[in-house]
């Protein structure tokens, strides 16, 4: 029997205490795992959806709302802006590309997004079936949409007004599915893409009373916002200021707003982190007490091991190995539980649909978990191990 095998047996000689300690330590580590995973996945999801968009231009209002609605498709947009104003942006020498986005309708609470083909190209989206839209009222479905709604090529559906379910249905404006995108783990997966003109057509058909009225509406066409890519990163210095000062629109930098958002979430995770820290501290104390008692209970056995010729270092190592086992088991339990928590939360809040949370990932940050486990358990074992190291064999021989 080597030290590891021996310490394993000693550990399970008191199964209740061992289980309790593994559980306690495991729960603390599970919360840490959970926090690390959520932070990692949310950041990853945001990074992915920003996809090289330098700035978003839209109606004046909250810049964060503009980003949440136009880039991440999690919120409603602040309002619309004239198409002409957005087209004018294209003339700015700092701008490489302008992608107008029109929102307003949904189907079964999946957003219908009017945009040029450049929009899916931003995310390097590929078609799984069919083709891209070429005319108004042709729709290309994101992978999640197609899967959940069970729509296939050639199927048709009628959009409803608004961005949530239950809006007014636009009776005679029927979309036809002409393509389905391959899943690419971006925001596109849960969007229905169509031509920008579709959105206009739906609303003009619905509201126009005669041909003249329709002409007037065409002149006042609006889009919701525009995604802009710069020619050079230097544009970030002047372009947003120019938009805010010289147009009726506002410019918001997604990177900036997402950082702000993560910072606000950070306040929440700080509380959770403190809580996890408390759990870990408690677990560390519990391991300490368990090992301390183990040394007291086994004082005779440990003294006998000294009598059998074991150097003090080997006896201290025995206790450290016991703590090592505890830490190892707790780390495995914590990682497994943490992953389960994230999956459960993702499913409960429906965040797996938006791909914010979900799939089991193993980012490098998770190395913190075994590191913490070993740190806490070995730290807790230090004093008991020292006690075992110093055990006074003579005193034990005398105590009868």
């Amino acid at each position: 029997m080597n030290t590891l095998a021996l310490s394993w047996r000693y550990l399970w000689a008191r199964p209740l205490a061992a289980t309790l300690n593994v559980l306690l330590l495991g729960l603390g580590l599970a919360s840490i795992t959970f926090l690390l995973l959520v932070a990692h996945q949310v950041e990853r999801a945001f990074d992915r959806d920003l996809a090289g968009i330098d700035v978003v231009v839209g109606a004046k209002g909250s810049p964060m709302q503009l980003i949440l609605s136009g880039v991440l498709h999690l919120d409603v947009p602040p309002g619309n802006v004239p198409l002409a104003a957005v087209q004018a942006l294209q003339k700015n020498p700092l701008v490489a590309e302008v992608i107008p986005i029109s929102l307003g309708d949904n189907f079964q609470s999946y957003r219908i997004v009017g945009s040029p083909p450049a929009y899916p190209a931003l995310y390097q989206a590929a078609l799984a079936q069919g083709r891209m839209w070429r005319a108004p009222m042709e729709a290309v479905l994101g992978a999640t949409v197609a899967r959940t709604l069970g729509l296939r090529l050639g199927d048709s559906f009628v959009g409803s007004h608004g961005l949530g379910a239950g809006g007014h249905a636009h009776g005679d404006s029927t979309y036809t599915v002409v393509g389905v995108l391959a899943a690419n783990a971006s925001v596109l997966d849960r969007l229905i893409l169509t031509d920008t003109a579709s959105v206009w057509k739906v609303h003009e058909d619905y509201t126009a009373v005669d041909a003249e009225d329709r002409k007037a509406m065409e002149a006042e066409r609006e889009v919701t916002l525009a995604l802009v890519r710069y020619k050079s990163p230097l544009a970030a210095m002047s372009f947003p200021r120019w938009v805010n000062a010289n147009t009726e629109m506002q410019a918001a930098a997604p990177a900036l707003e997402v950082t702000r958002l993560l910072h606000m979430l950070g306040l929440g995770t700080d509380v959770l982190r403190a809580f996890a820290g408390m759990l870990l501290l408690t677990a560390g104390l519990s391991v300490f007490i368990a090992l301390w008692n183990a040394v007291r209970e086994r004082r005779g056995d440990l003294a006998l091991l000294r009598m059998l010729g074991a150097p003090p270092g080997r006896i201290a190592a025995l206790l450290l190995a016991e703590a090592l086992w505890l830490g190892l088991m707790a780390a495995l339990l914590g990682l497994a539980l943490g992953q389960c928590f994230v999956l459960a939360l993702g499913q409960m809040l429906g965040l797996d649909q938006s791909l914010l949370l979900g799939a089991a990932l193993w980012p490098a940050e998770l190395l913190w978990v075994p590191a913490l486990a070993l740190g806490v358990s070995l730290g807790a074992a230090l004093l008991p191990a020292l006690g075992a190291y110093r055990s006074d064999v003579l005193q034990l021989l005398q105590s009868r």
């Binding site: 047996r9 000689a13 005779g300 009598m307 059998l308 010729g309 021989l397 009868r400």
Partner: protein, 229 residues
């Protein structure tokens, strides 16, 4: 063989024990007597090299104690001293087999299952190898502990109160077992006891009443204990 000359031990609290000189030849038997607190345990610890004498010299199995470093003394003890504690200290978490394996672990040498088998066999407890200590009778447990003590074929066998809480019959058996085991190994035997029955049993065992094999060392619980009169 155990030779001591002017052996003293000072406790941390300041009390100082003086031990009478002894000269036990290899294979001899020493009966260590005296009431509780007279320093029997301390004497055993000195002989085992667990504590260092504050004065005097001590040679055990040809080795002058105190000349070795801490780690070397531990290794020396593992190979040279067999110890049968009063409370036996068999680990309840381990089977008999694994309790004996502990001795190899403590000594830091490779496991030798054949040797465990031999040691258990010699004491008639080989078929108990897979049992846990709680499943053993008192006599069986003592035999297992003795097997552990002699696993490394020590030159000196120390037994601490081996007859405490045993009835006359079992006490005689225990002493006889110790004597024959030590004799078989050619080891010197030290029995620390205040039980008069041990002396009687040993005299009965002596081949041809060869009293030269036996020695008595009686300690007194005073600051300046002396040899027995």
């Amino acid at each position: 063989m155990i030779q001591s000359l002017g052996l003293q031990f000072a406790y941390a609290k300041g009390a100082r024990l003086h031990f009478p000189d002894v000269d036990v030849p290899q294979g001899g038997v020493l009966l260590l007597g005296g009431p509780s607190g007279s320093g029997k345990s301390t004497w055993l610890a000195l002989v085992a090299g667990l504590v260092a004498p504050s004065a005097g010299s001590l040679r055990v199995a040809g080795q002058t104690l105190g000349a070795l470093g801490g780690l070397k003394t531990d290794a020396w003890r593992a190979q040279t001293i067999g110890f049968l504690p009063q409370k036996l200290h068999l680990s309840a978490a381990l089977t008999v087999q694994r309790n004996l394996e502990l001795a190899f672990w403590a000594a830091g040498v490779a496991q030798d299952p054949a040797r465990i088998r031999t040691a258990l066999d010699a004491l008639g407890v080989a078929d108990l190898a897979q049992r846990y200590p709680t499943q053993l009778s008192g006599g069986q447990a003592q035999r297992v502990a003795l097997a552990r003590a002699v696993l490394m074929r020590p030159r000196v066998l120390l037994a601490d109160e081996p007859t405490a809480s045993l009835d006359d019959h079992n006490a005689a058996d225990a002493v006889q077992l110790l004597f024959t085991t030590a004799h078989r190994l050619g080891a010197s035997l030290v029995i620390a006891t205040h039980d008069a029955r041990v002396g009687h049993t040993l005299h009965g065992l002596a081949p041809g009443g060869a009293d030269s094999m036996f020695q008595r060392l009686v300690l007194y619980p005073t600051a300046s204990s002396g040899a027995a009169p």
